[in-house]
């Protein structure tokens, strides 16, 4: 089967980007919107077709989903073995991601037609969206580490451009900068990881790297070698993978590289939905999943790191989310928390068969999360569109004004809380099962997070749609069709995505296995979620003074949490005070006043000497004669009497 056509999925957005980007203002807004949407729509259809072809027709050989290289060219050669190829790999996770990305992207495109209507940079926005779609699609189909790195950077820059979309707003500029630099820093780790890995293995290629033998070991001998070399207590392969994970952690906003994500909410809401909720931020998860065989088989230490980082981030973000008032920030922390969940799931997973439940769960949750979180964001966008504010304090009782938004948002809320029957319920359940089977502390954290998630999401939901009656300047109204249709579509997915038998398609080793529903996990966790929702109901469903009281009672703790544990401030201190003020300034000073001064010093010394010997040329001819004589005599003295032959 020739899968070359999959190239079109990726290239269509690129062409769109170039077309809209280059024509820019000479293209009518409407046309740009339609073009963008149409192109991603086509991509979406192609992705669906691909998925069908892959999962149901050609992908499975001998009961195992194959990795199919649909297309590849050598883009840049480093050495005979090391070269960057650009290509399309089709395997369960990439096909799954193709679907997720195109779906969400399409929804966001449609939504944006309404949301961004009348904006000055409407065309620019669409071209950037296309750029992002292109980059993200390129990332997920990457055949090798370096291609991934390339598109990794490209999604980074798209994210930068889109966060900074309102470039005249200083906070947006700052946020975009922060996002880019933080992820860039993480990418440094990624890059070094790649270098380290490739130095030993001599390849970037995923297929070669992750090739496993029948008995579940890696075929690459170099990786075994790397496992044998120890550096500071960890094997080199672990180091390499931890470094690579650092890149993933940066993109996926894992602690402590998460600081950019809340600020990234400065971007237009559709962007938040697409990039900072559904797709780009899960790239880290995808990266770990992509290299999962190595993590699981050769570098369990690295995988443990992944697990703990995931678990901690998940808890950390959930706690912060409980205190935030900005609707998008709550969602942002929620995203971080959920991605932590996915990481955690990967971390507790093993390779192969049912042991790979965590892997499957993680991918499953990735998919469902993409749907309901995109929905949440788009819903939030719809709300913001109506209220012209991001603050939950400015909202309340919106259910009356915006019924569609209310219902779809409600579905998403239930999905994320793990309400039985909705998508989140199933994916979360699998994660919890995987955690329980492998690591009890992590399982406990996961359960707590589940409860917290239910709490803060309910807090959000109640205070926006119920709660106090707020006086609005303009009566909020439901958003236009272009915005509500995507909401409805996504709501559909949020409900039913959970019913996909994921373990049939996406598994750690490509072989399908059956999952069982674990009531012993599902029931208690669901109960905990209900408790969370219940508390939120009590506190926020109606106007209540309890939250204020609680806040007052726990003042110190609350402030700390509200300020996100002051992580931002620590970063600010390190970057502004230390790196900028101390390091950079002193280097600049050193350069001017030491190195440059030394160079100028040569000139100064020359001038000084020139000035101090001017007396030699006194104008007195007799002195000249004296010097003459002395010169001759000195040479006579030297060469007759001092230099012995």
């Amino acid at each position: 089967m020739d899968f070359t056509y999959t190239l079109a999925i990726i290239l269509l957005p690129l062409v769109t980007f170039l077309t809209i980007g280059l024509l820019d203002k000479s293209m009518p807004n409407k046309l740009a919107g339609v073009l963008g949407t149409a192109s991603i729509g086509t991509s979406f259809l192609l992705a669906c077709y691909t998925a069908y072809q892959y999962f149901f027709v050609y992908g499975m050989v001998d009961g195992v989903y194959q990795k199919i290289i649909a297309y590849h060219i050598t883009w840049l050669k480093f050495t005979d073995t090391l070269h960057i190829d650009l290509g399309v790999i089709l395997d369960p996770i990439s096909v799954m991601m193709l679907l997720v990305v195109t779906t969400v992207s399409l929804m966001v495109h449609i939504y944006s037609n309404g949301y961004m209507h009348g904006e000055r940079g409407f065309n620019k926005f669409f071209s950037f969206l296309s750029l992002f779609s292109f980059s993200m699609l390129g990332l997920v189909v990457a055949t090798n580490l370096f291609q991934m790195y390339i598109f990794w950077e490209l999604v980074g820059v798209s994210s930068f451009l889109l966060i900074g979309y309102y470039y005249e707003k200083p906070s947006a500029v700052a946020a975009s900068k922060k996002a880019f630099i933080t992820t860039r820093f993480a990418d440094l780790g990624f890059l070094i990881g790649i270098l380290l890995l490739s130095w030993y293995t001599g390849t970037f290629d995923f297929v070669q790297l992750t090739q496993t033998s029948a008995i579940g070991t890696l075929e690459s001998p170099a990786i075994a070698t790397m496992g044998g070399i120890s550096f500071m207590g960890l094997s080199v392969i672990s180091w390499a993978l931890i470094l690579i994970f650092m890149g993933g952690a940066g993109k996926s906003a894992m602690f402590p590289l998460h600081i950019w994500l809340p600020d990234a909410m400065e971007g237009p809401t559709p962007v938040s939905a697409l990039i900072h909720a559904a797709t780009m931020v899960v790239a880290g998860v995808f990266l770990v999943a992509r290299l999962f065989p190595i993590y699981a088989i050769a570098a369990p230490d690295a995988l443990t790191v992944v697990m703990w980082v995931g678990a901690f981030s998940s808890l950390f973000a959930a706690i912060i989310a409980c205190t935030q008032y900005d609707i998008k920030r709550v969602l942002a922390f929620s995203t971080m928390s959920q991605i932590g969940y996915m990481m955690l799931a990967l971390g507790v997973s093993k390779y192969g068969g049912e042991n790979g439940l965590g892997f499957t769960a993680s991918m499953f949750h990735l998919t469902t999360h993409a749907m309901f979180k995109a929905l949440l964001f788009l819903g939030a966008g719809s709300i913001i569109h109506a209220v012209h504010s991001n603050s939950m304090l400015d909202m309340g009782g919106l259910r009356k004004y915006m019924p569609i938004t209310f219902i779809t948002f409600g579905i998403a809320w239930l999905a994320i809380c793990g309400f039985p029957g909705l998508s989140g319920f199933f994916s979360k359940d699998e994660i919890l099962v995987a955690a329980m089977q492998n690591n009890t502390p992590v399982f406990i954290i996961a359960v707590v997070v589940a409860g917290l998630t239910a709490f803060y999401m309910s807090r959000l939901f109640f205070s926006v749609f119920f709660g106090k009656e707020t006086k609005y300047h303009h009566t909020p109204h439901e958003s236009p069709k272009t915005m509500t249709i995507p909401l409805m579509v996504l709501a559909f997915f949020a409900i039913f995505a959970g019913y996909i038998p994921f373990s049939k398609f996406v598994t750690s080793d490509g072989a399908a296995f059956a999952t069982h529903f674990h009531w012993n996990v599902a029931i208690p966790v669901t109960l905990i979620a209900f408790i969370g929702m219940g508390i939120a109901y009590v506190l926020y469903f109606k106007e209540s003074t309890i939250p204020t009281k609680v806040t007052k009672a726990l003042k110190g703790v609350y402030t700390t949490i509200y300020n996100k544990f002051y992580i931002d401030e620590i970063y600010l201190f390190v970057t502004k005070k230390i790196l900028f003020n101390i390091v950079a300034r002193s280097i600049a000073w050193f350069d001017r006043h030491v190195i440059d001064a030394t160079m100028n010093g040569f000139a100064t010394v020359t001038n000084y000497v020139s000035n101090s010997i001017k007396g030699l040329q006194s104008g007195q001819v007799q002195k000249y004669g004296l010097v003459f004589l002395m010169g001759a005599l000195t040479f006579a003295l030297i060469f007759i009497y001092l230099v012995t032959k």
Binding site: L626, M630, L633
Partner: protein
């Protein structure tokens, strides 16, 4: 006899030389110079190079000293007494001169002249000089003789050029 004459001449040369460079009256210095030059001519006579002695007397003692005296007359009041050389200037100069003397004399004395002393044949007479001046072959000096005339011409013209006043 010769020895005594030599030492007298040497004494005159040295004393008058010193006077030439130290005398505070310029005419006195010129006179001392003249005596030095004459004593030199005497030395040449002693060495039996009569032609040279004659040249020395004519050109040096006769020509140059007269020239110098003329110029003195043109530029000086006779009574004018020079100040003594200030030590700042004299001491380094004296030291340099002494050093030079020491170096040169010691170098000269180190050299083995004795083995090179030649048998004396005839003393060079005017005829010999005359032949040499007009000979253009081996051992002839017609070329420098002619060339020096260019110098003299040039010197003359040069002196005129500097001294000459504009016509108008």
């Amino acid at each position: 006899m010769n020895v005594i004459i030599f030492y007298i001449l040497a004494a005159v040369i040295l004393v008058c030389s010193v006077l030439t460079v130290t005398s505070r009256k310029i005419l006195r210095a010129a006179t001392a110079l003249m005596f030095t030059l004459i004593a030199t001519a005497g030395l040449y006579f002693l060495l039996q190079v009569n032609f040279l002695a004659a040249v020395q007397l004519m050109i040096y003692a006769g020509g140059i000293v007269v020239l110098i005296v003329f110029s003195i007359l043109l530029t000086h009041h006779m009574e004018h007494q020079f100040d003594l050389a200030e030590p700042k200037k004299a001491i380094p100069a004296a030291l340099a001169a002494i050093a030079g003397t020491v170096i040169c004399i010691s170098t000269v004395l180190q050299f083995d002249f004795t083995s090179r002393l030649a048998e004396q044949t005839t003393a060079p007479d005017v005829k010999l000089f005359g032949r040499a001046f007009l000979n253009y072959g081996e051992g002839g000096y017609v070329l420098p003789f002619e060339v020096i005339s260019i110098l003299l011409l040039a010197a003359m013209v040069a002196a005129i050029m500097i001294a000459k006043k504009n016509k108008q």
